[in-house]
């Protein structure tokens, strides 16, 4: 069992998490993340379990919402906590790449 992740592995997870890791932090993360991954690897030893999953301890009956409008915020409230805004819009630096989603 290696006691360290590679630098590339650390940078990969840091990218997924959108957390910048400075050069002088990489070494520390290589060790710490590996230790946690060694912990969770213990699950690989568990055998003879049932495939059925428990996503959460949900109540048995789910009551869905009726399609009736409720209160909304006014644009001022929307912007209240936003660090940058312009007009009624929340502002971010220009986004060039296309959305990966829907």
């Amino acid at each position: 069992m290696n006691d360290k992740l590679t630098k590339e592995e650390v940078l990969h997870v840091a990218h997924l998490a959108r957390i910048k890791v400075d050069d002088d932090e990489i070494e520390k993360y290589q060790v710490e993340l590996k230790q946690l991954l060694n912990d969770v690897d213990k699950i690989k030893d568990v055998e003879g379990y049932d495939e059925e999953r428990m996503i959460a301890p949900w109540p048995k009956d789910t009551i869905l919402r009726e399609d009736e409008p409720g209160e909304m915020l006014n644009p001022k409230e929307v912007l209240k906590n936003a660090p940058k805004h312009s007009g009624n819009y929340i502002e971010v630096p220009i986004v060039i790449s296309e959305s990966e989603g829907a």
Binding site: K20, L37, V40, I43, Y49, I90, V92, I94
Partner: protein, 486 residues
């Protein structure tokens, strides 16, 4: 002025007879908090608004509501409108919410007064409240010791008798473990018992809000206030109104209690095991049946917890990106830079570590190898609890493996904070209710807690046993000497 040391009935009578007003209780709380400032229990005090509320309440009828006009402390990961809610993180250091958590609405409707927001581990990730951006709270029994976590501030302020009531949150023991370390009563209700709307999510399938108090009765009273289905939380359960104090005072003759061997194995210190044995004996002397039982999967709970909690957290905390609220980095080069710098500077070490590991655990094939497998074993573990509850009313064990340790103990072992909660995590996995009750003290005069686990929605039975033991033990649980009192 020492009303906060009186019983809740006495306070209630005094309020009713107008011998005191809510403002007197509020002022007394603030004075005590001020005097205990070095305990660092609070991140934000609600001074102005609490006083205003107290004065408003003077116009209202006290009625039969025992909680009328009483101050309450709220953990700082529960959203309070117009009152700073930081989650003990730099990323929300100046965040002023624009809505209320459902529990906060309920507190207000019940005419209680929010006195302040309590210190905690950053985003509830930790077991000693030392990951707080605002520094750790200190244990009122010994200021060199931790109060536990993540609800360390709420535990501290209750133990110090600043207020009678506090709310904590519990994802993997975060109410019960600090309750045990500080000698108070802490309940994590059944998953779905209390609405999570407005609780800043750490691990959605595990999180639950619960009451923290100095005794069992007051604990049940507070649960009466905060419990109930909420149409804003689909995972909250419709169970009808119930009085959680209803079995308090009943005897426990014939009650069947299971004590899993794993909970009494050598992962737990001898002094704690001894106290649990003593409690077991009292229960047996009073007609309860206590059996040692074997339970599968208990030793796997921490592993499951690490996978599920970190996986969910990596997703839940993705929303902190510096765009709509919270801290943001200055002059980002581009959108990627905005994300990377904001999250690097905004989150603390523990949080970043968990987000990164969680992201890894869900990426590509790992979701199957780790996360889905963990959900399967989680289901088996719940079934194992179901099996025990076919034959037993309750399960008991120690809450923690040791008593509260030194604030200066090293924090460089990333696994340590998980292992602190090894005995309490299984309850979150299965969504069950669990309570920690003070049952004695260790060599260093630090409190020891008994963990009482009930079947789903059987909180009232837990309170029955807890109040019975509380009465039998009749411990002095006030860490402050009389002359220290206000």
């Amino acid at each position: 002025m020492k009303y906060l040391d009186k019983t809740i009935e006495e306070i209630h009578e005094a309020l009713k007879k107008k011998e005191i007003k809510p403002i007197d209780l509020v002022e007394e709380s603030f004075e005590r908090i001020e005097k205990n400032k070095e305990l660092n229990a609070y991140i934000t005090l609600n001074k102005e608004e609490a006083r205003k509320r107290a004065q408003e309440l003077e116009e209202k009828e006290v009625g039969d509501n025992l909680l009328f006009g009483l101050p309450i402390a709220v953990k700082d990961n529960i959203i309070t409108k117009d009152l700073k809610t930081t989650c003990a993180s730099h990323i929300l250091e100046n965040f002023i919410p624009i809505y209320n958590a459902t529990v906060v609405d309920k507190i207000n409707e019940n005419n209680m007064i929010i006195i302040g927001k309590t210190n905690m581990d950053e985003f509830a990730m930790g077991s000693s409240s030392r990951t707080s951006y605002f520094g750790a709270p200190k244990n009122p029994w010994n200021k060199e010791k931790i109060s536990g976590g993540s609800s360390g501030g709420s535990a501290t302020t209750i133990a110090a008798r600043d207020v009678l009531f506090a709310l904590g949150t519990d994802t993997g023991g975060s109410i019960r473990q600090p309750a045990s370390y500080t000698g108070i009563v802490g309940m994590k209700p059944t998953y779905g018992r209390v609405s999570r709307y407005g609780l800043v999510a750490f691990a959605s399938s595990l999180d639950q809000i619960g009451p923290m108090t100095k005794n069992v009765y007051e604990n049940a009273l507070l649960l009466n206030v905060i419990a109930g289905a909420d149409d804003k939380d689909l995972t909250s359960a419709e169970k009808g109104k119930e009085d959680f104090t209803r079995f308090i005072g009943k005897d426990i003759k014939g009650m069947k209690i299971a004590l899993p061997n794993y909970f009494m194995s050598d992962i737990v210190t001898e002094e704690i095991r001894n106290e649990v044995e003593k409690a077991k004996k009292i229960l047996e002397e009073n007609g309860a049946i206590v059996d040692y039982v074997d339970m599968k999967y208990l030793d796997k709970a921490v592993t499951l917890y690490q996978i599920i909690a970190m996986g969910e957290a990596s997703s839940n905390l993705a929303r902190f990106d510096g765009i709509r609220y919270g801290y943001t980095t200055e002059n980002p080069k581009d959108i990627e830079d905005l994300y990377l710098e904001t999250r690097k500077n905004g989150f603390g070490k523990e949080v970043k570590r968990r987000i990164m590991v969680g992201s890894y655990l869900l990426s590509g094939e790992n979701a199957k190898i780790y996360y889905n497998k963990a959900l399967s074993i989680r289901d088996d573990m719940k079934k194992e609890f179901d099996r025990i509850f076919k034959d037993y009313d309750l399960i008991i064990g120690p809450t923690t493996t040791t008593t509260a340790y030194d604030l200066t103990d090293p924090m460089d072992d990333p696994s340590k904070s998980f292992m602190d909660d090894v005995l309490v995590i299984p309850v979150n996995m299965a969504g069950l209710p669990g309570l920690s009750l003070p049952i004695g003290f260790g060599k260093e005069n630090m409190p020891i807690g008994l963990h009482i686990i009930g079947n789903s929605f059987e909180e009232a039975t837990i309170y029955q046993l807890a109040s019975f033991l509380e009465k039998k033990l009749n411990l002095d649980l006030n860490p402050r000497k009389d002359d220290e009192n206000v």
